[in-house]
Amino acid sequence: MPAEHMVKRFDEELQKLDASISEMGGLAESQLSMALAALRERDSVTAEKVMKADHRVDEFDRTVQAQVIRMLALRQPMADDLRLIVTSIKIASALERVADYAKNVAKRSLQLHTLTTPSTALSGVDRLGRLVQALLKDVLDSLATKDADRARAVWTRDADIDDVYHGLVRELLTYMMEDARTISACTQLMFMAKNIERIGDHATNIAELLLFRWTGEEVVEERPRGTS
């Protein structure tokens, strides 16, 4: 068990930073969860909630950045402390993007209420959403438990998500070709699918950052990609 810093205030500040990231992660997770629920259940109230709550995530992003800059100036961190502090900024950025994409999904879901939407198309997007939700949860769990194996597993699973995404895109194209009335809805769903796929990318980015944080080694291998 690594010893604590001689200067206890430093450990307290590091804990505060961890707590900020953790809360931000929880918020991003719940934003995604609510956006998918709003889509599934055509729930405009939930969709509005998601859109209104997005600014809280942005606030966290700014808080984390301020905490990091302060610690860099005042503590001159080295080695693992330095890596922890610097990766926190990037992780916060990734979480901010995740929440932003979730907000976009919620916003677009409102459009679907007035459009002819093939139910299988909707469930396809929902399925992709659940996969990405699980990925995000796993990476945030690995952050909390400092589990490098779990982070690495997230890193490799992104390929599966890519496959599901590309399959979904092909599916949506067939709907549009079969029935022109579905084009508006399917276009919205296509954008939503893209947003969700990007959330998966960011979850994988977080996994890479965590591996760098704990080992000091950059992940230089090509990320496993799905076949297009």
């Binding site: 010893a3 810093h5 200067v7 080295m78 080695a79 890596r83 000091g216 080694e217």
Partner: protein
Amino acid sequence: MSPLDDRVKPLRQDGPMSGPAAAAAPKIEGKKVNVFYGAKQALFDVNIPIKTNNVTALIGPSGCGKSTFLRCINRMNDVIPSCRVDGAITLDGQNIYDRSVDVVQLRARIGMVFQKPNPFPKTIYENVAYGPRIHGLARNKAEMDEIVTNSLQRAGLWKEVQDRLDQSGTGLSGGQQQRLCIARAIAVSPEVILMDEPCSALDPIATATIEELIDELKQNFTIVIVTHSMQQAARVSQWTAFFHLGKMLEYGDTPQIFTKPKEERTQAYITGRFG
């Protein structure tokens, strides 16, 4: 080539480390160095390269042996009666503890700067001229003037003292005194400069001036610096060695030591986790 080069020459011109191989070989190498003060052992099996024209920093907590090791390099420990050194320290491949080595000549090749600036109670000029004079490096006043001017210039002090070379060295500020000591050290054209916490007694501006100077000097000298400040070691050195309880636990290039040290104890020390 100035007349200096003839007189302060290697102990052996044709040593094992001449020729192209010399460029790659470390200037100094510690090989299984063990040091005892009476019955107490202060250094245990230290093996370390000191690369030519690089700055190597020795870091570690108080009492870890870094200053002891530094003083072995120019055999300053010889003046401590109870001190015994086992193992070898080579300079250009030749063991400096060999019986045939002239210690006075050795200390002309390896200069030293100390924590507290210690200019002689003489004029600025005389401070710098003293070493060259006793080594007979100047044939006449003109040559000596050149040596003094040159050394003061290279130490970054010339502009501030050129009009008062006849004033006492002890009348200068702390930072200037330290630069005077550096000028004094380089006046005898050493190959290596050892520095034992050279900036501990100086303010941040003087410290920054010396650090900039170290950066320039390394082009022509090999420098070993002992420092308590991790930030300073990180700023000035290319290679860092971490000492702990008389052992050298880790040696590596400075960026690696401070971003991803290999040893847990190195990481604990540099991040301030001493428990």
